[in-house]
Each structure stands twice: as C-alpha cells, then as structure tokens.
Subunit: 351 residues, 2 copies
DNA sequence: AGCCTCTCCCTAAACGATTAGAAAGTAGTG
DNA sequence: CACTACTTTCTAATCGTTTAGGGAGAGGCT
C-alpha cells in the first residue's frame, strides 16, 4: 500500500472532523446515525485500522497483562495460562507471557530486563510465578502496576501484595505419608533451586513426614530443566554413596522427565525397584509407564483466581482514575490466598 | 508514585533540551560525555523509563513478531517457539504468540479478529502455523507486514509468500510402509480437519502406502483437541461397523492423547491388540507405555528456518526505508522450502 | 420572543517520544 | 582577525489518536 490510511484521512474523505470520526469508530455518543454510517463505510473502503500506539499514548490505556514464567516447557504453565485466559477473555484485556528463563537459566539481569520491558510497554498488571526481587516489586509499584504472585512468595517486605499459594507443606506431608504407608524408608527428593519459593515448603513437608515415619530423606538439587535433572541424578547414582533409594520424589514436571529418562536408560523398574511420585499433575501423567502418582495443585483454578484478583484491582484503578484519584492498587488482606493440593494415586508409587 | 517521569522532566532537571536527553539515552552521537553522564544519572534518580507507545508512534518501529498457533497444548508449538526464540534472541525483536483456537475451536471470525489485532499493534512480521484466508494475507500485505507459513500451505494465489513445509507425503509413505512390514492390513487414520493443510498430505501418503501394500485405510475426522479425539474414536468403536483396526495412526499430539486415553480405558493392549504410530515427536513419547513410534518433523529447526527467513525480510524492509523506498517484503523463490521428516521407531508399532 | 434543553459537531490541545534544520560555541589556520 | 570546520545544543514540528470546551441549530415551553 502506498500510504496507510489514518484517522485524518477518514476525516478528509468524509468531510467530518476527527472528533466525529473517532467517536463514530469507538461507538461513542454524540454522533448521528448518518455520520456513523458514513464513517464506517469509508473506514471499510480505505482499509483503515487504528494505530494502537497512538491510542495508548493518548489514553494511557494499558490493556495487557503479563505473565512471568520460568521455562515454559513446564506443563504447569500451560494449565495456568488456560485459567488466566479464561478469565481475561471477554474482558478487553489480554495476556502476554514473558519467559524469564528462556535461555535455560535464570539470572537477575534477565529479571531486571524483563521488568524494565514491562514498564516500558506500560503493562496493566503482572502475574508472576517467580519471586521477584524486592527492588523490582517496588519499581512496579512506583509505576502503579499491580502484581499478583502465584505459587511463589512475594518478597518479605511486600506484605500487602496479593498471592495465590498452594499449601505445598500439607501436600508434601500427604505425599510422604503415602510413601510411608508403602513401607518405604529411604527417600530421595530431586529438587529445583530455592529461588522458586515452593521448594522450601515442599522440602519442609517431606522432611517432617520422613521424621514422623522414621524414613531417611536425601535432597538432591538440580537446575530447573530436564537435562540438568538427568545429569544430576545420573551423577548421584554413580557416586559411591549414591545408592538407589526406595522412593524418588520429583520436584516438578521437567525434573520428572529427567528422572524417567534416567530410570529408563538404566532399566530400573518402577515401582518394583524404585517408587516414584512427582509434583504437578499434567495431561500425560496417566499414560506414562507406569501411570504416575502425582501431587495435583490444580493450576488452572489458580490461574483463574489470580486473574480474577488482578482484574478486580485493575478495574479499581480505572474507577479511581475516572474519579481523578491516583490509581494506587487496592490490595486487600483476603487477596493472600492459599489453596490445597491433592494426591492423585496411580501406580508409580506401588499401588 | 505521584507522577511518572517523562523525558520532559529529565530535560527540566538537567537543564538540557529534550533533543540532547533523547540522544544521550539512546546512545547516539552528538552528545558530550559530560551531558550524557548528567542525563543518565538523572534518569536513574528519577526512575525514568521511556514510554514505548510514544517511541513506536514516532519511529514507526514495529519490533515484535507474532506467531499464530492453534491450540497451544500441542507440544509441537513449544518446540517451534524454542527455535524461533533462539533466532530472535540477540536481535532487538521479540516474539509474541497469538492463539487462534484458544477457545477450543477455530472460527473465521477469530482469525479475522486476530489479524486485525496484529495490524492494530503494527506487528513487524507474522509466522503462522495455519493457512490464513486469502483476504487476510492480502490485508497483511497491504500493511507491508511479511508473513511466513510454517507447516501450512499459503493460500493458492499467494504464490510468492515464504513457507517452510515438511514433506508430509513422503513421511506418511514411510510410516505406512513400516506398518505394512509388520503385516498389518487394516489401518485407521485419526485426523484433524482439513483446514490444517498438512492433513491432506498426510492422508495422501497413507492412502498411497495402503494401496501399494494392499491395506485398507479408514480415515476418521475429529476436531483438533484431545477431548474430541477421545469422543470420536470411542463413538466409532461403538458403532456396528467400527471394529478395532490392527493399526492406528494419530494425526498429531493432542489426538494421540485422546487415542491413548481411549485405549487405556478399554484396556486395549498396544501393540499386541492394536499398533500405534503418531505424528510429531515430543518429549514424553519415549516414556509412554509403550514407547511411541512417531514421525519426527524436527519442529525446532523449522522454527529456526522460519525466523531466519522473516528476519532477513524485515531487515530488508528497514534497509529500504532508510533509502526512502517503500518497504515491500522481499520474497524470494528459495524462501519456499521443504524439509524432510524421519520415522523414529520405538515399540508402539510392534517392534 | 425569550429561554432552555438537546443533539451533533468542531477547534485545538494534549499524550511522550524522535529528529530535521538552524545556531551557538570552540578551535584551528593562514 | 576573518574564515572554516567541527562539536554540541536548541527550537519546533511531527507521529495518530482522544477529548475538554465551546458553539450552532432545532425544537419545545412559557
């Protein structure tokens, strides 16, 4: 196209002022039916499409919500997004995902860059699955961008920021209890780094269950991806002290993939030689060999809750702005929520 | 924050003009070291973050690439995105995904809405996994937004638009040949709708293999998600004529999930009662029960190819604009590429 | 007529950045 | 000192929208 039509072009073609054209296109009042029809017809004929950058600049609109994830190959995020999308759909807002560990590993620099980027694009709000630095939370706050933490604790001094947490402590006790029922006393927890705040709770619950039932718990830490998990576990099994435990708990989805790969390579039978429980239910769990016993934290409804909370806060900001007040996020005590997780018992635990 | 600092604020604080401040921030020439330091210091102190909407409006920058997918729960897209991200990282461009079938089903209205949205945000370029309507391709073209098709054929009259296609025909012949080697003569192809252009090629290859080896091929069509696949296959098996075939070919990843669920529910053993081959390799395929024989189309390198092609075209547009020429996409004949796919033989086929 | 109320439309000023074109300052040169 | 060349800076226009603040005209009412 030689030239992209602008609102001014529409105004010239129709003979109406830009004000009227704008109102007509946005379905606003103060326009006669005749004018509106004229404008819409001209818009169709010229192939006019409004320039979002100009709209946002003028309106300070901020219509998109960012979801900060780490490693999208974790199935957990797919379900989480599904829940978020379901709430946002229908509203005029949309979700975009920012993968903080796309390069494979997390670094503070990437976190800072992503937060910077979100502010640059004047994101309306943020849902994060990772504990952000206190500085970044403060930075977002200073730009009036509300943040909701899901499955990750807000930094300590951000006491009012909303969070949807799973009771990982209770869930881990359940999981450990089940292993104990089977009579296993030698457990290995393959865990991702403590940067993800769920790690501590999961470990604490397992530790308590182990103590209570007289089991030995070994914790093995690895980076948060399948490949690292595979290498770490392999190396562990090859060390003199690293005998095969009676039960393995995989910290999350990618780690589970690493564990299964190792067991398959070494032809270690599940559950007869080693029992296996993993955190985070996902679509293929029942179809694995053997069907997998998992802790199910229902990430889709967590997504729904998070999006609903954020939506309420954003709507409140709009309301406040319309009244001419500063758009400070309206954080409420009840926005700090904790949901429970169940144990889905299949066969990999020995059942 | 009471007020968000703008470039004008920086200008007032430093006593320099907005021109100088802008240059200093963007690392441009024409600024003394002293001024630059002054500006950067002030920017840090005030917590200044540029407004992207204003920048884009003024510069007509267009820095983001959209990837149009259908149903993100298809593992294929994760790998594709990985490839795309790998190319884009480092460049100043970033990728955003637009899920065209997020609601579950595809409708032309959603397609139109998404294309409209991409134009509104003045997207730099598009990578699509779905054959778009001829009108939409033309529309994007008229806004000088280049499109690259991956694993989906461009509409017929868009003969110059780049595409990275898999040779699904040859791959399907391979798959069919392998089934024939096992002596199976009764095949069922569970297929997604023909709107995805790979469907036709896959069916054609299977058909030809069946004819050549004297096998009977039944094609069963379902919507493109696991749940529909499950229902469709279940219903088929329950009809009087719908006897269990000797081999099932699952059209893609979500459909495979549906098939496996049905087989598990009905306690049908793979591969002894029915053999199974699926299109599209994915991370969990080797870990399923039994390990799955799949057609592997290496979607990650397809992503790399697509992103490289698009990058070249976008850079060409920038170059042209700098010379004052119109930014028409430079499509070349060699941008129409076809890659091959292999058969990864595991055990679900009977091997 | 005078006054009010409505409806529809317009003018002109934003929003926050970039940048062409002009100008001021500084230094070197003959 | 006049001239040139270069560096650094400024002024003001511009990108494509939205919207505050008027205002014209029509109709109804007293």
């Amino acid at each position: 196209m030689a030239k992209k039509p602008t609102l001014r072009d529409l105004s010239e073609v129709t003979g109406l002022s830009s004000y009227t054209v704008s109102r007509a296109l946005s379905n606003g009042a103060d326009v006669s039916d005749a004018s509106r029809k004229l404008v819409l017809k001209a818009a169709r004929e010229l192939g006019y499409v409004p320039n979002r950058a100009a709209q946002e600049l003028r309106k300070k609109s901020r219509s998109s919500v960012a979801v900060i994830t780490a490693s999208t190959s974790n199935y957990y995020y797919l379900d989480l997004m599904k829940g978020i999308q379901r709430v946002l759909r229908g509203s005029s807002r949309n979700a975009v995902v920012a993968d903080i560990a796309a390069e494979g590993v997390y670094t503070p620099e990437v976190e800072d860059a992503i937060v910077q980027d979100l502010i640059q694009s004047r994101t309306a709000g943020v849902i994060t699955t990772l504990t952000l630095s206190a500085e970044n939370v403060k930075l977002l706050e200073s730009w009036d961008i509300p943040v909701v933490f899901v499955d990750s604790a807000p930094p300590e001094d951000a006491t009012r920021v909303p969070s949807i947490l799973t009771d990982n402590y209770a869930a881990s006790i359940k999981a450990g209890g089940h292993l104990a029922e089977h009579g296993y006393t030698d457990w290995l927890f393959l865990a991702y780094p403590g940067r993800w705040s769920t790690r501590a709770e999961r470990e604490r619950g397992l530790r308590e269950a182990a103590d209570k039932h007289g089991a030995a718990l070994q914790v093995l830490e690895t980076e948060n991806d399948s490949d690292s998990a595979r290498k770490t576990l392999s190396a562990y099994l090859d060390t003199p002290g690293g005998a095969l435990p009676r039960a393995i708990i995989a910290g999350n989805n990618p780690l589970l993939h690493g564990v299964l790969t190792v067991l398959q390579q070494r032809e270690i039978a599940v559950p007869t030689q080693v029992a296996l429980i993993a955190f985070d239910e996902f679509a293929w769990a029942p179809l694995l060999d053997p069907p997998l016993t998992v802790v199910d934290e229902d990430s889709e409804s967590i997504g729904v809750l998070a999006a609903q909370t954020l939506t309420r806060i954003l709507d409140g900001q709009l309301e406040a702005e319309r009244r001419g007040e500063p758009p400070v996020p309206d954080y409420r005590p009840e926005d700090r929520r904790e949901v429970t997780a169940d144990l889905i018992v299949r066969q990999s635990c020995g059942c």
